[in-house]
Assembly symmetry: C2
Homo-oligomer: 472 residues x 2
Amino acid sequence: MTSVTPPARPRIVIIGCGFGGLEAARALRSAPVDVTVVDRTNHHLFQPLLYQVATAGLSAPAIAAPIRHLFRRQANATVLLGEVVRIDVQARAVHLKDGLALPYDHLIVAAGAAHSYFGNDQWAPYAPGLKTLDDAFDIRGRILLAFEAAEKEPEPQRRADWLTFVVIGGGPTGVEMAGTLAEIARHTLPGEFRNIDPATARVILLEGSDRVMQSMPPTLSQRAQEQLEKLGVDVRVNARVTAIDEDGLTVQKPAAGLPPGETRAADSYRIRSKCIIWGAGVAASPLGRQLAESTGATVDRAGRVVVEPDLSLASQPEISVIGDLAAAKSHTPGQEPLPVPGVSPAAKQMGRAAAANILRRIAGQETAAFRYRDYGNLATIGRNSAVVDLASPLGPVRFSGYFAWLFWLFAHVFFLIGFRNRVVVLMDWAWAYWTFARQARVVTGLASTPVQAGASASEVAAAEAAHKGPAA
Amino acid sequence: MTSVTPPARPRIVIIGCGFGGLEAARALRSAPVDVTVVDRTNHHLFQPLLYQVATAGLSAPAIAAPIRHLFRRQANATVLLGEVVRIDVQARAVHLKDGLALPYDHLIVAAGAAHSYFGNDQWAPYAPGLKTLDDAFDIRGRILLAFEAAEKEPEPQRRADWLTFVVIGGGPTGVEMAGTLAEIARHTLPGEFRNIDPATARVILLEGSDRVMQSMPPTLSQRAQEQLEKLGVDVRVNARVTAIDEDGLTVQKPAAGLPPGETRAADSYRIRSKCIIWGAGVAASPLGRQLAESTGATVDRAGRVVVEPDLSLASQPEISVIGDLAAAKSHTPGQEPLPVPGVSPAAKQMGRAAAANILRRIAGQETAAFRYRDYGNLATIGRNSAVVDLASPLGPVRFSGYFAWLFWLFAHVFFLIGFRNRVVVLMDWAWAYWTFARQARVVTGLASTPVQAGASASEVAAAEAAHKGPAA
């Protein structure tokens, strides 16, 4: 009898379980490889609906699926909760904060991006961004507590400050936040306050360029702005924020005709506000720069790693970078390569492409250049409004308004991870649609901690007895 | 023409919007009075299901209703978010932390209780209690992260420490937590880990007295213990905790036959555990002692204010104390007064009684003594198990097992505040029942904050451009 040692299966480590990492791991499900997925949270987040958690429309579990649960039936996948602190390119190992090292044969880095203040980190405490569930809870609390503070504030100017909401950045997140805020003020809260009228709240959307929704064609930008204005949002383009503090912000280039409460100083003006939301920018994970330093790869100025056509690194073909962390190009035969946009369908496609290229490499085959298929672009603005820009073989299909909103709704629910989440989200929305109620108006972090006992030993015994012997 | 000043309406302030405060305010809905409800959170919490949030079965919004929303149609009620720091009995005003003072003609104090370590506050970091949503999130995180840590831990003893869960206190909270923890370990998580078998996790319930569920008759305590043991819970009665630290706890009076990993020292033993939950005791809000000092009322040793038969204070009949903060007696004609238990039906009944007595006082009528109607007592132990002890005119009706569980389920869903919550909770449970999945396995506080920009001004501009002009 001879004992046969089976050949070692290639170890593939995937850093990050956003859209890119999740798709990459799934694409490897039937391959004879060992996959390890590392993420610093325990859940995959359906980011396109994060603004609904921030605006109290959905609960966190409705848009977050436990990563471990998603992979329970994928026998070749191991899920680890951990924060990656370093990639040792020479030793081929990923080092976690808690000291664990994960050796790899192939590595997919899908660590994504976070919001960024582009050198103005001092703005962070006054204008939270929206990337994680913690961010969403923070913003939800600020919005709801601003109305609560206004209800208690007798001084008219300060009350107006609490009722002025400013969203910075006219991209999808900013547009969705501003539209939903206006809806909350005009439809959800009225009737619930006795000292203020929530419908008098002002929602201001500031965009630095000349139109909102820059990633869409100008006609749809125009529609989006009109729909926002119909909802009562004060949309200001060509408005660059130069300072943010706890009482408001300063904007360059005044819009014509200043509303009361704003003061002009040379060519800038102030908006007084106690609730400012940052939707203006993202920057790639710091892991990109670390990786570039140790591999000789280039990063672009947003911190994204420039990758080869097959999404790998030139000096380290066993490493692929995908999603928001990658500065990738789409390669269509006979055409100039085009930059891949930072959207979730692109991240998913890169995940599948990187996984396929790794399997090709293992099989000794040529890798394939990545080609991004653009199926279109959609964004919602509030109840009943959205803009849709679909790619089709016959040319772009563009529409806006109610049917765009229905299209947006079903597209998002369709892509939401997990059967149960879809049902719950649809139910929550159906309910919210007919009642204007928002289900998740819960603010935590307010109630304080246990009763500090200054009790003596006999008091302790008696207190225990008074509560019928629960003490152990 | 003469101008007529309408007579001022009596101002009634209610501190706390738990079961007692909520019922009191609702009972005043048609009365010609002005009601102000103050609570330090923005939501009414359905506390009997809080353990489901702690064990990831329900999302927070499913059991928390915004107080403001509950009173939107009660025109005579104003809701304020605020923490009461002082009651000025002489000036008849309630002072909030933010400086606001609320004058009252009648005051209902329903500030409730928090969990208490009875003089061992140093245990708090290692054994969180369960009273607020924040507590529930804390416990949820500890439970889920313990399994995550075990999956990453190569050393067997430390891995076993992560997989040992100890619940202190055999009252309803402790029994529900222990039963659900066992269910999670045996049914929800298996198949999702590669390095550990979650079903090997130990769940230990420690009770200081000689039986669990002291508030139930001994036969049902026995049933509860049997059902817990069937679920795999190691139930230890007569087990008093004498020390808790980050590696485990010390228990007095050893149970016979020590499992491995526990060391006997004289008449105490150690249990090594990285996840300990405190369900052992509560103490009344500190507002009780403050109130007693300024009114001459007595507090019992649990910090509860001793009230008159009509729930008011002897020296200040315009102040009533209800719910967990009151040491009240039930008055049945021809019988000895009996202490009112600290359960939610009692709090609700006290709320209605206090409101009715205030209206009688305003009308110049005699107030009525409070009489508690005990409809029974129920507790669930896990999937399919519960114990029910109902009061009926023909004597007590006691049952346990599957039908008790169904009874418990529908009773709780029926009493849950708000139509939508009931539907969602039933759906979540139906889904969880058939799949053993738990919907709310989300841990927050793990992902870190924005990318700290060390970028230069030109990099900033370029980064903005790279993300298609969102900057403002």
